[in-house]
Protein backbone atom coordinates (compact mmCIF):
# COMPACT_ATOMS: atom_id res chain seq x y z
CA UNK A 1 0.00 0.00 0.00
CA UNK A 2 1.38 3.36 -0.97
CA UNK A 3 2.09 5.99 1.67
CA UNK A 4 -0.51 8.31 0.19
CA UNK A 5 -3.29 5.70 0.42
CA UNK A 6 -2.30 4.92 4.02
CA UNK A 7 -2.26 8.65 4.81
CA UNK A 8 -5.68 9.14 3.25
CA UNK A 9 -7.10 6.12 5.12
CA UNK A 10 -5.54 7.34 8.38
CA UNK A 11 -6.98 10.80 7.85
CA UNK A 12 -10.41 9.32 7.17
CA UNK A 13 -10.31 7.23 10.37
CA UNK A 14 -9.22 10.26 12.42
CA UNK A 15 -11.98 12.41 11.01
CA UNK A 16 -14.60 9.67 11.47
CA UNK A 17 -13.62 9.17 15.11
CA UNK A 18 -13.59 12.92 15.70
CA UNK A 19 -17.22 13.14 14.60
CA UNK A 20 -20.03 12.04 16.90
CA UNK A 21 -21.54 10.00 14.05
CA UNK A 22 -18.96 7.21 14.17
CA UNK A 23 -19.16 6.89 17.95
CA UNK A 24 -22.95 6.96 17.78
CA UNK A 25 -23.06 4.25 15.10
CA UNK A 26 -20.66 2.03 17.05
CA UNK A 27 -22.36 2.66 20.40
CA UNK A 28 -25.85 2.06 19.00
CA UNK A 29 -24.60 -0.98 17.07
CA UNK A 30 -22.98 -2.51 20.16
CA UNK A 31 -25.96 -1.65 22.38
CA UNK A 32 -28.50 -2.95 19.90
CA UNK A 33 -26.57 -6.20 19.34
CA UNK A 34 -25.95 -6.78 23.05
CA UNK A 35 -29.66 -6.29 23.73
CA UNK A 36 -30.62 -8.57 20.86
CA UNK A 37 -28.18 -11.21 22.11
CA UNK A 38 -29.56 -11.03 25.63
CA UNK A 39 -33.16 -11.34 24.42
CA UNK A 40 -32.27 -14.36 22.27
CA UNK A 41 -30.52 -16.07 25.19
CA UNK A 42 -33.45 -15.33 27.51
CA UNK A 43 -35.89 -16.64 24.90
CA UNK A 44 -33.81 -19.79 24.55
CA UNK A 45 -33.66 -20.33 28.32
CA UNK A 46 -37.40 -19.78 28.70
CA UNK A 47 -38.19 -22.18 25.85
CA UNK A 48 -35.28 -24.56 26.30
CA UNK A 49 -37.44 -27.66 25.94
CA UNK A 50 -38.89 -26.60 22.62
CA UNK A 51 -35.68 -25.09 21.22
CA UNK A 52 -33.30 -27.83 22.37
CA UNK A 53 -33.99 -29.81 19.20
CA UNK A 54 -32.59 -27.04 16.95
CA UNK A 55 -29.73 -26.28 19.35
CA UNK A 56 -28.42 -23.08 20.86
CA UNK A 57 -26.32 -22.25 17.80
CA UNK A 58 -29.33 -22.07 15.50
CA UNK A 59 -31.69 -20.67 18.10
CA UNK A 60 -29.39 -17.85 19.25
CA UNK A 61 -26.42 -17.33 16.95
CA UNK A 62 -28.19 -17.50 13.58
CA UNK A 63 -30.87 -14.85 14.35
CA UNK A 64 -28.21 -12.80 16.19
CA UNK A 65 -26.02 -12.60 13.09
CA UNK A 66 -29.07 -11.91 10.90
CA UNK A 67 -29.76 -8.85 13.05
CA UNK A 68 -26.07 -7.92 12.87
CA UNK A 69 -26.28 -7.94 9.08
CA UNK A 70 -29.30 -5.68 9.23
CA UNK A 71 -27.29 -3.41 11.56
CA UNK A 72 -24.46 -3.29 9.00
CA UNK A 73 -26.98 -2.48 6.28
CA UNK A 74 -28.19 0.52 8.29
CA UNK A 75 -24.73 1.64 9.47
CA UNK A 76 -22.84 1.46 6.16
CA UNK A 77 -24.67 4.39 4.49
CA UNK A 78 -24.05 6.55 7.56
CA UNK A 79 -20.34 5.75 7.64
CA UNK A 80 -19.77 6.22 3.91
CA UNK A 81 -22.02 9.17 3.12
CA UNK A 82 -19.38 11.82 3.85
CA UNK A 83 -16.46 9.93 2.34
CA UNK A 84 -16.71 11.50 -1.13
CA UNK A 85 -19.96 13.51 -1.18
CA UNK A 86 -18.90 15.45 1.93
CA UNK A 87 -15.51 16.25 0.40
CA UNK A 88 -17.19 17.38 -2.79
CA UNK A 89 -19.59 19.63 -0.85
CA UNK A 90 -16.76 21.13 1.22
CA UNK A 91 -14.47 21.69 -1.78
CA UNK A 92 -11.75 19.40 -0.45
CA UNK A 93 -12.24 16.77 -3.17
CA UNK A 94 -10.69 19.23 -5.62
CA UNK A 95 -7.73 19.44 -3.25
CA UNK A 96 -7.30 15.67 -3.56
CA UNK A 97 -7.51 16.03 -7.33
CA UNK A 98 -4.54 18.42 -7.30
CA UNK A 99 -2.45 16.02 -5.18
CA UNK A 100 -0.39 13.40 -7.03
CA UNK A 101 -3.10 10.77 -6.54
CA UNK A 102 -5.13 8.71 -9.00
CA UNK A 103 -8.85 7.97 -8.63
CA UNK A 104 -7.89 4.47 -7.45
CA UNK A 105 -5.75 5.95 -4.64
CA UNK A 106 -8.54 8.27 -3.52
CA UNK A 107 -11.18 5.52 -3.44
CA UNK A 108 -8.77 3.01 -1.86
CA UNK A 109 -7.87 5.48 0.90
CA UNK A 110 -11.51 6.27 1.61
CA UNK A 111 -12.50 2.58 1.48
CA UNK A 112 -9.77 1.50 3.89
CA UNK A 113 -10.66 4.32 6.28
CA UNK A 114 -14.35 3.37 6.42
CA UNK A 115 -13.53 -0.34 6.50
CA UNK A 116 -11.43 0.22 9.63
CA UNK A 117 -14.53 1.47 11.39
CA UNK A 118 -16.69 -1.25 9.85
CA UNK A 119 -14.15 -3.80 11.11
CA UNK A 120 -14.60 -2.41 14.61
CA UNK A 121 -18.34 -3.08 14.27
CA UNK A 122 -17.74 -6.65 13.00
CA UNK A 123 -15.32 -7.31 15.90
CA UNK A 124 -17.85 -6.01 18.43
CA UNK A 125 -20.50 -8.26 16.92
CA UNK A 126 -18.07 -11.20 16.97
CA UNK A 127 -17.08 -10.65 20.61
CA UNK A 128 -20.56 -10.44 22.18
CA UNK A 129 -21.55 -14.13 21.65
CA UNK A 130 -18.08 -15.46 22.58
CA UNK A 131 -19.39 -15.92 26.16
CA UNK A 132 -21.62 -18.74 24.86
CA UNK A 133 -18.56 -20.86 24.09
CA UNK A 134 -18.00 -21.41 27.84
CA UNK A 135 -21.44 -22.65 28.70
CA UNK A 136 -23.12 -24.01 25.59
CA UNK A 137 -22.39 -26.46 22.79
CA UNK A 138 -21.76 -23.87 20.09
CA UNK A 139 -20.82 -25.05 16.60
CA UNK A 140 -17.67 -23.00 15.83
CA UNK A 141 -18.09 -23.71 12.11
CA UNK A 142 -21.49 -22.04 12.01
CA UNK A 143 -20.18 -19.16 14.13
CA UNK A 144 -17.24 -18.59 11.78
CA UNK A 145 -19.40 -18.95 8.66
CA UNK A 146 -21.83 -16.35 10.01
CA UNK A 147 -18.93 -14.08 10.86
CA UNK A 148 -17.53 -14.47 7.34
CA UNK A 149 -21.00 -13.73 5.92
CA UNK A 150 -21.23 -10.59 8.04
CA UNK A 151 -17.75 -9.44 6.96
CA UNK A 152 -18.58 -9.93 3.25
CA UNK A 153 -22.01 -8.33 3.63
CA UNK A 154 -20.42 -5.31 5.36
CA UNK A 155 -17.71 -5.02 2.71
CA UNK A 156 -20.32 -5.04 -0.03
CA UNK A 157 -22.43 -2.40 1.68
CA UNK A 158 -19.44 -0.17 2.35
CA UNK A 159 -18.64 -0.45 -1.38
CA UNK A 160 -22.24 0.41 -2.23
CA UNK A 161 -22.23 3.36 0.18
CA UNK A 162 -18.98 4.64 -1.30
CA UNK A 163 -20.40 4.44 -4.81
CA UNK A 164 -23.50 6.38 -3.77
CA UNK A 165 -21.24 8.93 -2.05
CA UNK A 166 -19.34 9.35 -5.32
CA UNK A 167 -22.60 10.12 -7.15
CA UNK A 168 -23.58 13.32 -5.38
CA UNK A 169 -22.41 16.34 -3.37
CA UNK A 170 -25.10 15.81 -0.71
CA UNK A 171 -24.11 13.25 1.95
CA UNK A 172 -27.71 12.77 3.11
CA UNK A 173 -28.82 12.03 -0.45
CA UNK A 174 -25.95 9.53 -0.77
CA UNK A 175 -27.03 7.79 2.44
CA UNK A 176 -30.66 7.64 1.34
CA UNK A 177 -29.83 6.19 -2.08
CA UNK A 178 -27.53 3.60 -0.49
CA UNK A 179 -30.23 2.69 2.02
CA UNK A 180 -32.92 2.31 -0.62
CA UNK A 181 -30.67 0.13 -2.82
CA UNK A 182 -29.51 -2.07 0.06
CA UNK A 183 -33.02 -2.50 1.47
CA UNK A 184 -34.28 -3.35 -2.02
CA UNK A 185 -31.58 -5.98 -2.41
CA UNK A 186 -32.49 -7.37 1.01
CA UNK A 187 -36.24 -7.42 0.28
CA UNK A 188 -35.84 -9.06 -3.14
CA UNK A 189 -35.82 -12.34 -1.22
CA UNK A 190 -39.28 -11.69 0.16
CA UNK A 191 -40.55 -10.70 -3.29
CA UNK A 192 -39.14 -13.92 -4.71
CA UNK A 193 -40.89 -15.96 -2.02
CA UNK A 194 -44.23 -14.21 -2.42
CA UNK A 195 -44.30 -14.34 -6.21
CA UNK A 196 -43.01 -17.50 -7.95
CA UNK A 197 -42.55 -15.49 -11.18
CA UNK A 198 -39.99 -13.36 -9.37
CA UNK A 199 -38.00 -16.40 -8.21
CA UNK A 200 -35.07 -15.64 -10.51
CA UNK A 201 -34.51 -12.20 -9.03
CA UNK A 202 -34.31 -13.84 -5.61
CA UNK A 203 -30.79 -14.92 -6.55
CA UNK A 204 -29.72 -11.27 -6.33
CA UNK A 205 -31.12 -10.89 -2.81
CA UNK A 206 -28.48 -10.35 -0.16
CA UNK A 207 -30.70 -12.11 2.36
CA UNK A 208 -30.82 -15.22 0.17
CA UNK A 209 -27.04 -15.09 -0.24
CA UNK A 210 -26.63 -14.98 3.55
CA UNK A 211 -28.75 -18.09 4.09
CA UNK A 212 -25.88 -20.46 3.31
CA UNK A 213 -23.52 -18.67 5.72
CA UNK A 214 -26.25 -18.71 8.39
CA UNK A 215 -26.40 -22.50 8.21
CA UNK A 216 -22.64 -22.92 8.19
CA UNK A 217 -22.35 -23.52 4.45
CA UNK A 218 -19.71 -21.40 2.76
CA UNK A 219 -20.44 -21.92 -0.90
CA UNK A 220 -18.09 -20.58 -3.52
CA UNK A 221 -21.12 -19.12 -5.36
CA UNK A 222 -22.15 -16.98 -2.36
CA UNK A 223 -18.53 -16.01 -1.68
CA UNK A 224 -18.03 -15.01 -5.30
CA UNK A 225 -21.36 -13.14 -5.37
CA UNK A 226 -20.43 -10.90 -2.44
CA UNK A 227 -16.86 -10.38 -3.68
CA UNK A 228 -17.96 -9.58 -7.25
CA UNK A 229 -20.65 -7.18 -6.00
CA UNK A 230 -18.10 -5.48 -3.70
CA UNK A 231 -15.51 -5.15 -6.47
CA UNK A 232 -18.19 -3.88 -8.84
CA UNK A 233 -19.30 -1.13 -6.45
CA UNK A 234 -15.70 -0.14 -5.69
CA UNK A 235 -14.79 -0.04 -9.39
CA UNK A 236 -17.86 2.08 -10.12
CA UNK A 237 -16.74 4.44 -7.34
CA UNK A 238 -13.33 4.74 -9.02
CA UNK A 239 -14.95 5.42 -12.41
CA UNK A 240 -17.25 8.06 -10.91
CA UNK A 241 -14.36 9.84 -9.18
CA UNK A 242 -12.27 9.67 -12.34
CA UNK A 243 -15.14 11.03 -14.46
CA UNK A 244 -15.75 13.80 -11.94
CA UNK A 245 -12.11 14.81 -12.13
CA UNK A 246 -12.14 14.89 -15.93
CA UNK A 247 -15.54 16.43 -16.51
CA UNK A 248 -15.82 18.88 -13.59
Amino acid sequence: MSGAIAALAGGEVRRLFRSPLAWLVLALGAGFMALDFMLLVVRYLENAAALRSIGVTRAVLVPYFLAANLGALLAAPLLTMNAIAGERRDGTLRFLYTAPLGAVDIVAGKLLGVLTLALAYVLLVALIPVTLFWGAPIDPGIYLANLLGLALFTLMHVGLGLMCSALTRQPVAAALVALVVSLSLWLLDWAARLDPDAATVGGYATLARLRGFAHGLVSSADLAWFLIASVLFIMLSVLLVDADRRLA
Binding site: G3, G11, R18, F95, P100
Partner: protein
Protein backbone atom coordinates in the same frame (compact mmCIF):
# COMPACT_ATOMS: atom_id res chain seq x y z
CA UNK B 1 16.61 31.36 -19.52
CA UNK B 2 14.86 28.31 -21.02
CA UNK B 3 16.25 26.14 -18.20
CA UNK B 4 14.59 28.39 -15.69
CA UNK B 5 11.11 27.89 -17.13
CA UNK B 6 9.31 25.88 -14.45
CA UNK B 7 5.81 26.02 -15.91
CA UNK B 8 4.74 26.45 -19.50
CA UNK B 9 1.12 26.39 -20.63
CA UNK B 10 0.26 26.67 -24.29
CA UNK B 11 -3.09 27.21 -25.97
CA UNK B 12 -5.25 26.53 -22.92
CA UNK B 13 -8.96 26.57 -23.71
CA UNK B 14 -11.91 25.66 -21.58
CA UNK B 15 -15.63 25.95 -22.11
CA UNK B 16 -18.43 25.62 -19.56
CA UNK B 17 -21.47 24.77 -21.67
CA UNK B 18 -21.90 27.54 -24.24
CA UNK B 19 -19.61 29.94 -22.35
CA UNK B 20 -15.93 30.14 -23.27
CA UNK B 21 -13.98 30.60 -20.04
CA UNK B 22 -10.50 30.41 -21.59
CA UNK B 23 -9.63 30.98 -25.20
CA UNK B 24 -6.18 29.66 -26.06
CA UNK B 25 -4.01 31.35 -23.45
CA UNK B 26 -0.27 30.91 -22.96
CA UNK B 27 1.46 31.27 -19.60
CA UNK B 28 5.13 30.88 -18.71
CA UNK B 29 6.54 30.91 -15.20
CA UNK B 30 10.26 31.15 -14.54
CA UNK B 31 12.26 30.48 -11.42
CA UNK B 32 12.49 33.53 -9.19
CA UNK B 33 9.44 35.11 -10.78
CA UNK B 34 6.20 36.24 -9.13
CA UNK B 35 3.48 36.54 -11.74
CA UNK B 36 0.63 38.80 -10.67
CA UNK B 37 -2.49 37.47 -12.37
CA UNK B 38 -5.22 40.06 -12.73
CA UNK B 39 -8.68 40.11 -14.19
CA UNK B 40 -12.27 41.05 -13.48
CA UNK B 41 -14.52 38.57 -11.72
CA UNK B 42 -15.41 35.85 -14.21
CA UNK B 43 -12.42 36.63 -16.45
CA UNK B 44 -11.15 33.06 -16.06
CA UNK B 45 -8.39 33.50 -13.45
CA UNK B 46 -9.52 30.71 -11.15
CA UNK B 47 -10.22 28.41 -14.10
CA UNK B 48 -6.68 29.00 -15.37
CA UNK B 49 -5.18 28.34 -11.96
CA UNK B 50 -7.24 25.19 -11.47
CA UNK B 51 -6.04 23.87 -14.83
CA UNK B 52 -2.40 24.69 -14.02
CA UNK B 53 -2.76 22.94 -10.65
CA UNK B 54 -4.32 19.86 -12.25
CA UNK B 55 -7.71 20.32 -10.56
CA UNK B 56 -9.46 20.89 -13.87
CA UNK B 57 -8.83 19.46 -17.32
CA UNK B 58 -8.48 21.86 -20.25
CA UNK B 59 -10.49 21.23 -23.41
CA UNK B 60 -7.41 22.09 -25.47
CA UNK B 61 -3.78 22.99 -24.89
CA UNK B 62 -1.15 21.49 -22.66
CA UNK B 63 0.74 22.27 -19.48
CA UNK B 64 4.31 21.30 -18.64
CA UNK B 65 5.59 21.62 -15.08
CA UNK B 66 9.31 21.13 -14.44
CA UNK B 67 9.51 19.13 -17.65
CA UNK B 68 6.54 16.87 -16.77
CA UNK B 69 3.51 16.98 -19.03
CA UNK B 70 0.44 17.43 -16.83
CA UNK B 71 -1.68 15.16 -19.05
CA UNK B 72 0.87 12.40 -19.66
CA UNK B 73 2.67 12.37 -16.31
CA UNK B 74 0.07 13.88 -13.99
CA UNK B 75 1.52 12.55 -10.74
CA UNK B 76 5.02 13.81 -11.42
CA UNK B 77 3.67 17.18 -12.57
CA UNK B 78 1.26 17.63 -9.66
CA UNK B 79 3.86 16.63 -7.07
CA UNK B 80 5.91 19.77 -7.82
CA UNK B 81 2.98 22.19 -7.66
CA UNK B 82 1.58 23.82 -4.55
CA UNK B 83 -1.93 25.21 -4.95
CA UNK B 84 -4.06 27.41 -2.74
CA UNK B 85 -7.58 27.79 -4.16
CA UNK B 86 -9.79 30.77 -3.37
CA UNK B 87 -11.40 28.84 -0.52
CA UNK B 88 -8.68 26.98 1.42
CA UNK B 89 -9.31 23.21 1.16
CA UNK B 90 -9.35 22.50 4.89
CA UNK B 91 -10.52 19.52 6.92
CA UNK B 92 -11.93 21.50 9.80
CA UNK B 93 -12.22 18.45 12.05
CA UNK B 94 -8.45 17.85 12.00
CA UNK B 95 -5.70 19.40 14.09
CA UNK B 96 -3.49 21.82 12.16
CA UNK B 97 -0.47 19.52 12.50
CA UNK B 98 -2.48 16.46 11.46
CA UNK B 99 -3.80 18.26 8.42
CA UNK B 100 -0.40 19.52 7.33
CA UNK B 101 1.13 16.07 7.87
CA UNK B 102 -1.64 14.55 5.74
CA UNK B 103 -0.96 17.08 2.96
CA UNK B 104 2.77 16.39 3.14
CA UNK B 105 2.26 12.64 2.89
CA UNK B 106 -0.17 12.96 0.00
CA UNK B 107 2.58 14.83 -1.83
CA UNK B 108 5.14 12.13 -1.08
CA UNK B 109 7.12 13.70 1.76
CA UNK B 110 8.89 10.72 3.46
CA UNK B 111 7.82 9.85 7.00
CA UNK B 112 11.27 10.69 8.35
CA UNK B 113 11.02 14.24 7.02
CA UNK B 114 7.39 14.75 7.96
CA UNK B 115 7.75 16.54 11.29
CA UNK B 116 10.42 18.88 9.96
CA UNK B 117 8.31 19.71 6.88
CA UNK B 118 5.24 20.47 9.00
CA UNK B 119 7.23 22.57 11.48
CA UNK B 120 8.86 24.55 8.65
CA UNK B 121 5.56 25.26 6.87
CA UNK B 122 3.95 26.26 10.16
CA UNK B 123 6.79 28.59 11.06
CA UNK B 124 6.83 30.22 7.63
CA UNK B 125 3.11 30.91 7.74
CA UNK B 126 3.07 32.23 11.30
CA UNK B 127 1.25 29.22 12.71
CA UNK B 128 3.80 28.56 15.45
CA UNK B 129 1.45 28.03 18.37
CA UNK B 130 -1.67 26.57 16.76
CA UNK B 131 -0.38 23.14 15.69
CA UNK B 132 -2.52 21.32 18.26
CA UNK B 133 -5.71 23.26 17.58
CA UNK B 134 -8.63 22.09 15.49
CA UNK B 135 -8.79 23.88 12.15
CA UNK B 136 -12.44 24.84 12.72
CA UNK B 137 -11.52 26.68 15.91
CA UNK B 138 -9.17 29.04 14.05
CA UNK B 139 -10.09 32.53 12.83
CA UNK B 140 -10.59 33.18 9.12
CA UNK B 141 -7.12 34.71 8.85
CA UNK B 142 -5.46 31.73 10.51
CA UNK B 143 -7.41 29.31 8.33
CA UNK B 144 -6.11 31.18 5.29
CA UNK B 145 -2.58 30.75 6.63
CA UNK B 146 -3.16 27.02 7.12
CA UNK B 147 -4.28 26.90 3.48
CA UNK B 148 -1.05 28.63 2.49
CA UNK B 149 0.97 26.23 4.66
CA UNK B 150 -0.59 23.19 2.93
CA UNK B 151 0.47 24.65 -0.42
CA UNK B 152 4.13 24.92 0.60
CA UNK B 153 4.55 21.99 3.01
CA UNK B 154 6.05 19.75 0.30
CA UNK B 155 8.43 22.48 -0.96
CA UNK B 156 6.92 22.73 -4.45
CA UNK B 157 8.86 24.26 -7.34
CA UNK B 158 5.75 26.05 -8.58
CA UNK B 159 3.33 27.83 -6.29
CA UNK B 160 -0.16 28.82 -7.50
CA UNK B 161 -2.02 31.08 -5.09
CA UNK B 162 -5.57 32.14 -5.86
CA UNK B 163 -6.26 35.27 -3.80
CA UNK B 164 -3.96 34.27 -0.92
CA UNK B 165 -4.62 37.42 1.11
CA UNK B 166 -8.39 36.88 1.25
CA UNK B 167 -9.63 37.55 4.76
CA UNK B 168 -6.28 38.72 6.10
CA UNK B 169 -5.69 41.94 8.02
CA UNK B 170 -3.10 44.48 6.75
CA UNK B 171 -0.32 43.09 8.97
CA UNK B 172 -1.01 39.56 7.77
CA UNK B 173 -1.10 40.76 4.16
CA UNK B 174 2.34 42.27 4.64
CA UNK B 175 3.57 38.96 6.12
CA UNK B 176 2.19 36.97 3.19
CA UNK B 177 3.83 39.40 0.77
CA UNK B 178 7.18 38.89 2.51
CA UNK B 179 6.66 35.11 2.53
CA UNK B 180 5.81 34.98 -1.17
CA UNK B 181 8.84 37.12 -2.02
CA UNK B 182 11.07 34.82 0.04
CA UNK B 183 9.56 31.68 -1.49
CA UNK B 184 9.96 33.03 -5.01
CA UNK B 185 13.75 33.08 -4.69
CA UNK B 186 13.94 29.40 -5.61
CA UNK B 187 10.51 28.91 -7.13
CA UNK B 188 8.03 30.29 -9.60
CA UNK B 189 4.96 31.85 -8.02
CA UNK B 190 1.66 32.83 -9.58
CA UNK B 191 -0.65 35.03 -7.52
CA UNK B 192 -4.11 36.25 -8.37
CA UNK B 193 -5.67 39.11 -6.47
CA UNK B 194 -8.06 41.99 -6.89
CA UNK B 195 -5.83 44.35 -4.92
CA UNK B 196 -3.79 46.12 -7.58
CA UNK B 197 -1.52 47.81 -5.05
CA UNK B 198 -0.55 44.40 -3.73
CA UNK B 199 0.42 43.21 -7.21
CA UNK B 200 2.42 46.37 -7.82
CA UNK B 201 4.49 45.67 -4.71
CA UNK B 202 4.72 41.89 -5.05
CA UNK B 203 4.86 40.84 -8.69
CA UNK B 204 7.87 40.82 -10.95
CA UNK B 205 5.59 40.33 -13.94
CA UNK B 206 1.93 41.12 -14.50
CA UNK B 207 -0.56 39.32 -16.71
CA UNK B 208 -4.08 40.60 -17.23
CA UNK B 209 -6.78 38.18 -18.29
CA UNK B 210 -9.95 39.45 -19.87
CA UNK B 211 -12.81 37.41 -21.29
CA UNK B 212 -10.63 34.31 -21.39
CA UNK B 213 -7.67 35.95 -23.14
CA UNK B 214 -4.37 37.38 -21.95
CA UNK B 215 -4.53 41.06 -22.88
CA UNK B 216 -1.33 42.11 -21.13
CA UNK B 217 1.81 40.22 -20.11
CA UNK B 218 4.86 42.28 -19.21
CA UNK B 219 7.41 42.92 -16.47
CA UNK B 220 6.12 44.89 -13.54
CA UNK B 221 7.81 48.27 -13.62
CA UNK B 222 5.97 49.56 -10.58
CA UNK B 223 5.93 53.33 -10.92
CA UNK B 224 9.18 53.42 -12.94
CA UNK B 225 8.56 55.50 -16.05
CA UNK B 226 4.93 56.14 -15.15
CA UNK B 227 4.39 59.79 -14.32
CA UNK B 228 1.54 62.24 -14.15
CA UNK B 229 2.03 65.80 -15.31
CA UNK B 230 -0.02 69.01 -15.39
CA UNK B 231 0.54 71.95 -17.70
CA UNK B 232 -0.91 75.46 -17.57
CA UNK B 233 -0.71 75.63 -21.38
CA UNK B 234 -1.20 71.97 -22.30
CA UNK B 235 0.00 70.75 -25.69
CA UNK B 236 -1.67 68.07 -27.81
CA UNK B 237 -0.88 64.48 -26.81
CA UNK B 238 0.95 64.03 -30.10
CA UNK B 239 3.35 66.83 -29.15
CA UNK B 240 4.23 64.96 -25.96
CA UNK B 241 4.81 61.61 -27.66
CA UNK B 242 7.03 63.42 -30.16
CA UNK B 243 9.47 64.10 -27.29
CA UNK B 244 12.34 61.65 -26.89
CA UNK B 245 11.60 58.87 -24.40
CA UNK B 246 7.82 59.36 -24.24
CA UNK B 247 6.00 56.18 -25.22
CA UNK B 248 2.42 57.19 -24.62
CA UNK B 249 0.62 60.26 -23.36
CA UNK B 250 -2.95 59.94 -22.21
CA UNK B 251 -4.93 63.16 -21.68
CA UNK B 252 -6.79 63.16 -18.37
CA UNK B 253 -8.39 66.60 -18.78
CA UNK B 254 -7.70 69.92 -17.03
CA UNK B 255 -4.17 70.01 -18.51
CA UNK B 256 -3.23 66.68 -16.96
CA UNK B 257 -1.60 63.72 -18.73
CA UNK B 258 -0.56 60.20 -17.74
CA UNK B 259 2.77 59.49 -19.38
CA UNK B 260 4.61 56.25 -20.01
CA UNK B 261 8.32 57.01 -20.33
CA UNK B 262 11.16 54.83 -21.56
CA UNK B 263 12.94 52.97 -18.74
CA UNK B 264 16.19 54.94 -19.01
CA UNK B 265 18.32 56.73 -16.41
CA UNK B 266 17.46 60.42 -15.98
CA UNK B 267 14.49 60.09 -18.31
CA UNK B 268 12.26 62.10 -15.98
CA UNK B 269 14.81 64.93 -15.75
CA UNK B 270 15.23 65.01 -19.54
CA UNK B 271 11.48 65.10 -20.00
CA UNK B 272 11.11 67.96 -17.48
CA UNK B 273 13.80 69.97 -19.29
CA UNK B 274 12.16 69.36 -22.68
CA UNK B 275 8.70 70.26 -21.41
CA UNK B 276 9.99 73.48 -19.78
CA UNK B 277 11.83 74.48 -22.94
CA UNK B 278 8.62 74.00 -24.92
CA UNK B 279 6.86 76.57 -22.73
CA UNK B 280 3.84 74.46 -21.79
CA UNK B 281 3.93 75.59 -18.16
CA UNK B 282 4.83 72.37 -16.38
CA UNK B 283 3.48 72.77 -12.82
CA UNK B 284 3.20 69.17 -11.64
CA UNK B 285 5.28 66.02 -12.22
CA UNK B 286 4.62 63.07 -9.86
CA UNK B 287 5.05 59.27 -9.93
CA UNK B 288 1.86 57.68 -11.21
CA UNK B 289 0.80 55.31 -8.46
CA UNK B 290 -2.41 54.56 -10.32
CA UNK B 291 -0.65 53.49 -13.53
CA UNK B 292 -1.51 49.82 -13.03
CA UNK B 293 -5.14 50.62 -12.24
CA UNK B 294 -5.21 52.83 -15.28
CA UNK B 295 -3.79 50.08 -17.48
CA UNK B 296 -6.15 47.52 -15.99
CA UNK B 297 -9.23 49.67 -16.51
CA UNK B 298 -8.20 50.56 -20.04
CA UNK B 299 -7.66 46.91 -21.02
CA UNK B 300 -10.81 45.61 -19.42
CA UNK B 301 -13.18 48.51 -20.13
CA UNK B 302 -15.96 48.30 -22.67
CA UNK B 303 -15.53 44.59 -23.12
CA UNK B 304 -17.06 43.34 -19.91
CA UNK B 305 -18.77 39.94 -20.14
Amino acid sequence: MTDDVLLAARGLSRRFGPRTALDGIDITLRRGEVLGFLGLNGAGKSTTMQILAGALVADAGHVTVCGHDLARAPRAARSVVGYLPQTPPLYDDMLVDEYLALCARLYGVPRAALNAAVARARARCGLGDVGRRLVRHLSRGYQQRVGLAQAIVHEPAVLILDEPTNGLDPAQIRDVRALVTALAAERAVMVSTHVLGEVRLLATRIAILHEGRIVHDADNRGTDGHVRVRFTAPPAAAALTALAGVRTAEPLGDGRFALDLEAEDDIVASFANAASAAGWGLVELTPDYDALEHLFMRLTAGRAA
